[in-house]
Symmetry: C2
Subunit: 275 residues, 2 copies
């Protein structure tokens, strides 16, 4: 998907929401455990109920891997289900991968060939040759970790050389490796005040912002500091939407929660003159 | 596995070799493609031929993920095969994972519960709460990226604040998160001259050293700068061993290649007074 196509979807839906599919067998409604593939059954219902209000889904690899082969199978079914039923949706593998070139090539194959993801999150520690193999696919995206939303972000991401912090260096170095059509950045919403600073380095790149909702970030603050003239934001919510209810009405409640976020987003897009 | 048990295995086998199972469907002998699970068939033969000369195997997750569900299935069979047939072998998931605590917990479940790995490689970018969930399992290990063997290592790992480089800060910070019984470090062999410096910070921790062989590192240099009084090293070789031949004799040739490395290692252990 190109950035223009993504922007068109955002305008059509009045939403820059990404729904995180952190599907946990211990948190889904009990009655689904009787189905042959409870993880996929849950995802399918959630997707059907929320797709109108979201432009992206982000399955979190860890949750599927924790289930072994059957989890990987549920993941493939989920990606295929989205791809064939809602082809305008942007699908992100939240995988935080990154290894020597030869190995990153294989990860790229896993997410872009073996499965039809549009993007994969990548960790920058190993540098350029660990990131570039993901950029060789047309209309596919790297979403590189810059500033994350967790407490441990403070441990290394602020290490500063000559006044330049590591997360800034990651952004400045990496933007030369790709372009605005194959590279986005993860910027944690709990650091909304940093968004302005980051926007001054990369005014046009899309940013994936996790941490709104359960992790405490404010959507209004994120929009204020992060929106650009092509939106330029994907804001993720996982637990706040997919676990809105643990009863029979879980999908309906997830749809309502997604709609609520979408409506706030539509307001913010309008205020910015983008709708 | 405890560090003492690992050291006992190293002494008994006269080897600190780790064989990397970077099993690529395009590189294994053609005739194996007729079997129902060529990846597992290859691994099984390689393991049977090399286990006497190695103390560890390191399946590289990317190669299995690139095959989708069937790859994940071959991986599980490989881990189970090693676990039940050669229970003294240390099994490393080369996964380079690391995410917010909640998600790292799920990755730990994937590698330590759903599969019986002894260790998982972890990337440090997201800090303490992304690493610690892997340390809550008894006798299981985090192998944290410190200084990697690839060209891109120079991009961020040498960022220096007040004279302290990022990879040094990663080691110094993280050694307080765990101990010598649950934390090892990845130190690339192409940076053998750095090993001495790293040994001065962590004299007792085990180091996993990739990059000997295809990536150009020298075993003698690594041993000179990295061995401690309990060995303290696992040196990985992947392509140089598992692809020693692409003919019918591939397993035999892999065994011979592993034996050759083992004999050099035994000499180095003797010279150090450890055998």
């Amino acid at each position: 998907m190109t950035s223009q196509e993504l922007f068109e979807n955002i305008k059509r839906k009045g939403s820059f929401l990404c729904v995180g599919l952190d599907t946990d067998i211990n948190k889904i409604p009990q009655f689904l455990l009787e189905t042959t593939d409870p993880i996929f059954a849950f995802n399918k219902e959630i997707i059907d109920a929320t797709h109108k209000f979201t432009v992206a889904y982000k399955p979190n690899m860890a949750f599927y891997e924790s289930m072994g082969v059957s989890g990987w199978n549920s993941l493939e079914k989920t990606v295929n289900y989205i791809r064939y039923n809602y082809p305008d949706i942007f699908i992100i593998a939240d995988a935080k991968r990154g290894d020597i070139g030869n190995t990153s090539n294989m990860y790229a194959k896993a997410f872009f060939d073996a499965m039809e993801f549009d993007a994969v999150t990548v960790a920058p520690y190993m540098g350029e040759d660990s990131v570039k193999p993901f950029m060789t696919y047309v209309d596919k995206w790297v979403i590189l970790l810059a500033l994350t939303s967790n407490k441990g972000a403070a441990d290394f991401q602020y290490v500063s050389e000559d006044g330049e912090k590591l997360f800034e260096k990651v952004i400045k170095s990496s933007k030369a490796w790709g372009n605005e059509e194959n590279l986005m950045y993860v910027v944690g919403a709990t650091k909304a005040e940093k968004l302005q600073e980051i926007r001054s380095i990369i005014p046009n790149h899309f940013l994936l912002v996790p941490g709104v909702g359960a992790q405490g970030g404010s959507l209004k603050e994120v929009a204020k500091n992060g929106l650009n003239d092509k939106c330029g934001l994907l804001v993720n919510s996982s637990r706040g939407i997919i676990y809105a209810s643990s009863e029979q009405d879980f999908a309906q409640k997830a749809g309502e929660a997604a709609k609520e976020v979408q409506q706030e987003m539509a307001g913010l897009l309008k205020a910015k003159g983008l709708l």
